[in-house]
């Protein structure tokens, strides 16, 4: 199967500090990949490098056959990055924000699927209020909707369950699982929630000090679900111990 995302030897540095150091990552259609790792491992930076908003100092990122450096617009057509809640435009209403993002994607209006997901996440009633008045959970939901607008095939999500109420979190997990199962979308999720990674992901990648240290495939994850003593938590702890 052809890869939807192919990142080769990706490096990102902020000044002298190298945050990502030669990352190789491939994701095919329908995969649900969870990125785990300690704070400062480079999970968010990797998502930003794939989304084209972190300056890459080495390596290549290829999305749906388009080189991100050479054809950024074509490559970005295939990705959707959930927006970080503090970055949302406070002076606009939620609906206006959605319309702005739809326009940026070349869509004439907010897609019905996005409005349906807003309904599922119980956000419809506040869509006409200014973002400045939103709670953290509402902002998180709006950030997710902005990332999913136009149903791009590769979803980049950074801790999207933070601040979500249990009902909305469950609904969103079900939505992601359904998208991945249908093969319509691949998900790259950066998370500290090992439970979500173990239960929903088809592959888990452990990132430490800007490098991929270990990964667990679908069979290993299935085995973990059957044998609780082989949890992802233990696997990660062992990997961290080895490293130290």
């Amino acid at each position: 199967m052809t890869a939807l995302l192919r990142a080769k030897r990706v490096c990102v540095a902020y000044g002298d500090a190298r945050v990502l150091d030669g990352i190789d990552l491939e994701i095919t259609r329908g995969e649900f990949v969870a990125l785990i790792g300690p704070n400062g491992a480079g999970k968010t930076t990797l998502l930003h490098a794939i989304a084209g908003i972190a300056p890459v100092c080495g390596g290549t990122v290829d999305i749906a056959g388009h080189d991100l450096a050479k054809a950024p617009r074509e490559a970005k057509q295939s990705i959707g990055l959930a927006i970080d809640p503090p970055s949302l435009p406070e002076l606009l209403t939620g609906r206006e924000g959605l319309a702005l993002f739809a326009g940026a994607r070349g869509l004439p209006a907010i897609p019905r699927t996005t409005l349906a997901l807003a309904e599922t996440l119980s956000l419809t009633s506040v869509l006409d209020r200014r973002v400045a008045s939103y709670s953290l959970g509402m902002r998180q939901k709006l950030g997710i909707l902005l990332g999913l607008i136009g149903e791009p095939p590769l979803l980049l999500l950074d801790e999207p369950f933070n601040g979500l109420d249990p009902r909305s979190a469950l609904a969103f997990k079900a939505h992601l699982a359904a998208l991945a199962a249908k093969g319509d979308a691949s998900v790259l999720l950066a998370t500290h929630s090992l439970d979500i990674a173990e239960r929903h992901a088809t592959r888990v990648v452990l990132l430490m000090d800007g490098r991929v240290r270990r990964s667990w495939d679908a069979d290993e994850l299935a085995a973990m679900r059957e044998q609780p003593e082989r949890s992802l938590e233990k696997g990660m702890a062992e990997a961290c111990e080895k490293e130290s």
């Binding site: 990122v61 606009l92 993002f101 008045s133």
Partner: protein, 323 residues
């Protein structure tokens, strides 16, 4: 730090010290200019005996101190209530106490500066006996203007009215102004400009320019000058707000397949309409002033100074990708 004062005060002070002299010039520049203009106006009384000059100086001090205090207090309050220190366990009333302390210190410093300036400009003047009246008038105006700003900022609901929530929809919505390919970017720019305009800091420029009007100038020419300065002040603010909103929007849409050419066209809509709107009162001012060359020079200067935000918009919408 004592629980009496807001902890952000110390952090702000450290940041200010590390930013260097430019930060101090930025903060102190306009207030010192205001006080200098007040003292310069008072010269009309000290040297020529025009009593109305004192009234004009007091009026300038009243409006200027109000505008500066109102903007400064709102900016600080927003930074403290919504910024990094928003979740700190700050004692009740600490923010208000701290801002009052800063205001009182600034007011005291202003009174000292005004005293020194008035003593300096009235030295050897024929009507030096009016010095106490000049000082009392300007000092009272400074205190009244600042007190009014404090009351306005701390009244119930004032903060929300000046923050994002308080922006009402325009009377003339002019939906056609919004670019359908990047909808609501124009609304973002307009609201950002409105938030800044309401803080009032730009209005101090009107007072400062009026402070330099020669004594005995015809009222029609003064009215023309007010029109020119007010429209320029508004245009400059709109341009800066539009450029800032555009930069934020382009950063926010960084992961989207944004057509930068379209984004540039959408970003210029509001600033261009604003410039056209500002040119009308400028032209009216030019006609009233009946000085074609001076008005033309003024408009050229206004356009030249407003061009920098245009360049910022061009730069923001230039790069396809940081990669």
């Amino acid at each position: 730090m004592s629980i009496l004062w807001h902890p952000a005060l110390r952090a702000d002070w450290l940041v200010l010290r590390r930013t260097g002299a430019i930060a101090f010039v930025r903060i102190l520049g306009v207030p010192v200019l205001l006080l200098t203009c007040c003292a310069a106006l008072a010269c009309g009384d000290f040297y020529r005996g025009y009593g109305w000059c004192l009234a004009a100086a007091a009026l300038l001090a009243l409006g200027g101190s109000h505008a500066i205090a109102h903007q400064g207090l709102l900016d600080a309050l927003e930074r403290w209530q919504l910024g990094w220190c928003a979740a700190l366990p700050v004692a009740r009333g600490a923010a208000a106490r701290t801002l009052l302390l800063i205001t009182i210190v600034a007011l005291t410093a202003s009174l000292v500066i005004v005293t020194v300036l008035l003593l300096g400009v009235s030295f050897g003047a024929p009507h030096r006996g009016d010095l106490p009246y000049a000082f009392a008038g300007i000092a009272l105006a400074l205190v009244a203007g600042t007190a009014l700003a404090i009351l306005r900022v701390f009244r119930r609901g004032a903060f929300a009215a000046h923050h994002a929530d308080g922006i009402r929809e325009p009377v003339l919505a002019a939906e056609w102004l919004n670019d359908p390919r990047l909808p609501h970017l124009l609304d973002w720019q307009r609201r950002a400009a409105l938030v800044r305009w309401r803080r009032g800091g730009s209005l101090v420029m009107v007072g400062l320019v009026l402070g330099t009007v020669p004594m005995g100038a015809p009222m029609l020419e003064v009215a023309a000058l007010v029109l020119l300065v007010l429209s320029w002040s508004w245009l400059a603010l709109v341009m800066r707000a539009s450029a800032d909103a555009t930069s934020l929007a382009v950063t926010l849409l960084g992961a989207e397949p944004l057509d930068m050419r379209r984004a540039r066209l959408a970003s210029f809509r509001y600033p261009l309409v604003a410039a056209a709107c500002a040119l009308l009162p400028m032209a009216a001012g030019a006609i009233l002033g009946r000085s074609g060359v001076a008005a033309l020079a003024w408009m050229v200067c206004a356009c030249a100074f407003s061009a920098w935000p245009f360049v910022r918009i061009l730069r923001a919408t230039r790069a396809e990708s940081p990669a």
